[in-house]
């Protein structure tokens, strides 16, 4: 009980400080205070809900993100250098997008919340994913020139 007293003081100070700052900020954003607060609330709830997904799905999401970033880098490079061996550019970008799409399909099939796939063993889903990627990359290597 004695330790709680001095500790609560800076909190209260921070709280009042927070209140005062909000009042001044409120004066500035008087046009759309609701939208800004809503956006922050939205992002927070999205973050919270996303943090609750299982780790294996998060790994797949990271892989998808990596593939899309690689595709964007390639498009940027094409913008700088020009698209001369067009088949190489096409095969590079489509391989990134293709493996991202296949990873999303894997995620759909492995997700335990998905009732349509509850009797599909995850090993089968992964085997399909590997097979499809094999075909995709065989075609890519042929088309790469």
């Amino acid at each position: 009980a004695g330790g709680g007293g001095p500790r609560s003081d800076p909190h209260r100070a921070g709280f009042t400080h927070c209140l005062s700052s909000k009042r001044s900020e409120g004066a500035r954003f008087v046009r759309m205070p609701k939208a800004d607060g809503d956006a922050k609330l939205l992002i927070q709830s999205l973050n919270k809900a996303y943090a609750a997904t299982p780790t294996n799905l998060k790994i797949i999401d990271l892989y998808v993100f990596f593939a899309m970033v690689t595709a964007l880098v390639q498009v940027g490079y094409m913008g700088v250098v020009g698209s001369f061996p067009f088949n190489s550019f096409l095969s590079g970008v489509l391989s990134c997008i293709g493996t991202a799409v296949l990873a999303v399909c894997l995620r759909i099939q492995v997700n335990k919340d998905n009732k349509e796939f509850k009797d599909l063993p995850p090993e089968r889903a992964f085997a399909d994913f590997v097979l499809c990627n094999l075909v995709l990359h065989l075609v890519i290597m042929n088309f790469l020139g």
């Binding site: 609330l41 939205l42 709830s45 067009f86 088949n87 096409l90 293709g98 799409v101 075909v135 995709l136």
Partner: protein, 756 residues
């Protein structure tokens, strides 16, 4: 197990039926390749079998389109030739000595048997085994498909229809099961379709349309994503692998629909995912935020895209696709596409000739697809509707309508037989079995329609096979009736009221439907035997003395191959190009590929010009021989005089000094004494009717039905070297230029040649 064995046996019988109904031309004539386009495919397959695949892939053909040549590896759809080539190689590796010609002639019937099995699989995915067997049996015989796949018709459609149906089957299977394995197989089957036929654009536009339909009607599911998204990426890549398509897979408007729907699908999938993560109130907030920002970005992107597409003159579409979307386009801008007889719109009787009874079974099938509506049955309906539209634009696309019509008719007939046999079962069991067990039903006996209260699961099983023995049926019914009495007292939650028809009506209807099927079979066999088995390289006619055979085409090509040098160039209208290179083995100026309009217009101008100008044009192309087809002596209607106006139009499209009204008298095309002097002096008239008056003294043309205009004339720049037995093919040689130019014109005249 009995059902499975019966099903497999029926499928084998259907395959044998499909194969054998296409053999009429081999029996009536001989095992020969038909028409024009198959000869080109045959020549390419011969080259492939002799020189191997690398030579084929890099082949530059200098014996056609002289002096331009043609890159065969890059402009041919390789699926058919590679298929036949591998069959030939495999069969010869087993030491069965089949020649390339035999393999080519029989490829189409084999693949039509396989196509009917694919139809069985596709219909089974939509409606069950009974409908599948029905549809397969109907497709095996449908005249529209027979016309393009008879033994000897070695054309792209022979394997393409199989690839089309099989791709659709794999797509529907992926949609139903959500398995990525089938999605991969779907992409590979689509690749085979792209290799085989230019009609693959139908698939890559129909499937996005169906995905859009599913999204819009609220049937989005994760299986839809798995069915469509990998197909787009893998399919585009695989399509770009085929040299004919190349970068058109990403650059032309025919593929834009697939990319657009790809983006839309991702947006929808993302929206559903976010919806799953957030609470409803937060989700509504997110939507308003996204819509305000997203719409602005969308407009910017769409504006850029529209500007890009609008900058190209045809808005990115190819000529053939544009003529499909706007049927009047070809006749206004591209006379070559308009002149092909297969590109004309069909007449109403041709629908009845080609799909016969199916024409009015199809609406019944559409209704049956809606009860109940699933993803697969909505796909069937969409496929049929688009196929009907396209078949109305071009008669050769009746072929795409055929599988759709067969599938829907199979569904209709199967549902009809289902209801009728169920009524018969029920009524007969009531007849044998009246007692207290039935009283629980509460329905009167006799001729009025009655309803049956049964549990829904039991009746779904009866949909599968109609061939269960009768004792089992009555036993099942007794069990059902006992269950019904129990269930009526318990008042179950799930009840399906199925209507049952009176016994006499169902027996008569079954017999009538079987008779309908009989009429269909009779028509199909007649169409296959009489209408679609003509090889068109050999003609026959019946007279009092028996069968008379006209083998003039092969006679002419054999003469050419035996009496001319290997490097001599032959000029004719483009119809005969493929046959000349394949059978006579001589270089031609233009052929059926019709890729270069100006070159064809040059030949057309030469045929429409007077002798001297024509000689100069042909001499500039190094032509030695000119070949014309003339049917006036025997009454063969597809000869060059009847095609002549197209030559004038196409020539006039490029060289303005050829004007169509010059050849018409009062708007009428005639070659008798009333014809215009331009017509009577042009090269085509002279080459066709040279010495024609010697045959009967009056020069009566049997096709046109009157006497010709100019009867006695001499040729100054050409000499006749060969005329076949019935005067159907006439070959002329260009006379060499005179050594001395007589008279005042001592200096060499500068010849003004038409510019390329």
């Amino acid at each position: 197990a009995f059902g499975g064995v019966l099903c497999a046996f029926t499928l084998i019988l259907i395959g044998v039926l499909a194969f054998s109904i296409r053999l009429f031309s081999v029996i009536k004539y001989e095992s020969v390749i038909h028409e024009f386009d198959p000869y080109f495919n045959f020549r390419v397959t011969q080259f492939l079998s002799k020189n191997g695949i690398y030579e084929f892939w890099n082949w530059f053909d200098d014996r056609t389109w002289y002096p331009l040549g043609r890159v065969i590896g890059g402009t041919v759809y390789p699926g058919l030739t590679l298929t036949a080539g591998s069959i030939w190689w495999f069969v010869n590796a087993l030491n069965i000595p089949l020649s390339v010609e035999t393999v080519c002639v029989f490829t189409a019937p084999i693949f039509s048997a396989i196509a009917s099995w694919a139809t069985y699989l596709l219909t089974k995915e939509a409606k069950g085994t009974g409908a599948g067997l029905m549809a397969a049996a109907i497709l095996a015989m449908v005249p529209s498909y027979i016309s393009r796949s008879v033994a000897g018709s070695y054309d792209n459609e022979a394997v393409a229809i199989f690839a089309l149906v099989f791709t659709f089957y794999l797509y529907v299977k992926t949609l139903n099961t959500g398995s990525l394995f089938y999605a991969t197989l779907n992409a590979l089957s689509y690749f085979y379709m792209v290799c085989s036929w230019g009609g693959y654009t139908f698939i890559i536009n129909l499937i996005p349309m169906h995905v859009l339909l599913c999204i819009v009607t609220g049937r989005y599911s994760s299986r839809l994503y798995i069915a469509y998204a990998p197909l787009v990426i893998l399919g585009t890549l695989l399509a770009a692998l085929v040299p004919v398509v190349g970068f058109n897979a990403v650059l032309t408007s025919e593929h834009f629909a697939s990319f657009l729907v790809f983006i839309i699908l991702h947006v929808v999938a993302f929206v559903y995912y976010i919806k799953g993560l957030l609470t409803p109130r937060l989700f509504k907030m997110a939507m308003t935020l996204v819509i305000t920002v997203g719409l602005a970005v969308c407009f910017a992107v769409v504006a850029i895209l529209v500007a890009l597409v609008a900058s190209s003159p045809t808005k990115g579409w190819s000529g053939r696709s544009l003529s499909l979307l706007d049927p009047t386009y070809a006749s206004k801008y591209i006379p070559i596409i308009a002149s092909v007889s297969e590109h004309q719109p069909p007449t109403w009787p041709s629908y009845f000739m080609d799909i016969n009874v199916l024409a009015f079974l199809v609406p019944a099938g559409i209704i049956s697809c809606f009860l109940p509506l699933s993803d697969a049955s909505s796909f069937m309906v969409l496929y049929l509707v688009t196929a009907v539209y396209f078949s109305g634009v071009m008669v050769r696309l009746m072929l795409v309508l055929a599988p759709a019509a067969c599938i829907l008719s199979g569904i209709a007939l199967s549902s009809a037989f289902d209801v009728l046999t169920r009524s018969m079962k029920f009524q007969l069991s009531k007849l044998f079995d009246d007692g207290p067990a039935i009283s629980g039903n509460g329905s009167p006996n006799g001729s009025s329609a009655s309803t049956v209260n049964t549990s829904s699961s039991k009746n779904e099983k009866t949909e599968k096979s109609e061939a269960a023995p009768k004792e089992k049926q009555s036993k099942k019914n007794r069990r059902k009736d006992k269950e019904v009495t129990e269930s009526v007292s318990v008042k179950p939650k799930k009840e399906k009221r199925l209507s049952v028809l009176p016994l006499e009506a169902s027996i008569v209807s079954t017999l009538l439907l079987i008779a309908l099927g009989g009429f269909y079979v009779v028509h199909c066999v007649w169409a296959a035997a009489e209408a679609y088995s003509a090889p068109s390289i050999v003609l026959t006619s019946r007279s009092r003395e028996g069968l008379h055979v006209f083998d003039d085409f092969r006679e002419a090509y054999a003469w050419l191959s035996h009496n001319t040098d290997v490097d001599d160039k032959v000029a004719s209208w483009w119809d005969y190009g493929y046959q000349t290179t394949a059978m006579a083995n001589r270089t031609v100026i233009v052929d059926n590929n019709t890729w270069n309009n100006t070159h064809i217009a040059t030949v057309g101008t030469a045929m429409s010009s007077p002798e001297k100008a024509a000689w100069e044009i042909f001499d500039s192309l190094d032509v030695k021989y000119v070949l014309v087809v003339f049917g006036g002596l025997v009454g063969y209607p597809s000869d060059d005089i009847n095609k002549f106006l197209w030559m004038v139009r196409i020539g006039g499209g490029e060289f303005p000094h050829i004007k169509e009204p010059d050849y018409l008298r009062d708007g009428q095309y005639r070659v008798d004494a009333q014809a215009t002097p331009t017509m009577l002096n042009c090269l085509m008239y002279k080459l066709c009717y040279y010495r024609f008056v010697e045959t009967d003294g009056k020069g009566f043309d049997r096709v046109r039905g009157y006497e010709i205009g100019k009867k006695h004339f001499k040729l100054t720049h050409f000499e006749e070297v060969f005329t076949t037995h019935h005067w159907m093919v006439r070959i002329y040689k260009l006379k060499p230029q005179k050594n001395r130019i007589r008279g005042k014109l001592k200096k060499l005249k500068s010849v003004s040649l038409p510019a390329y």
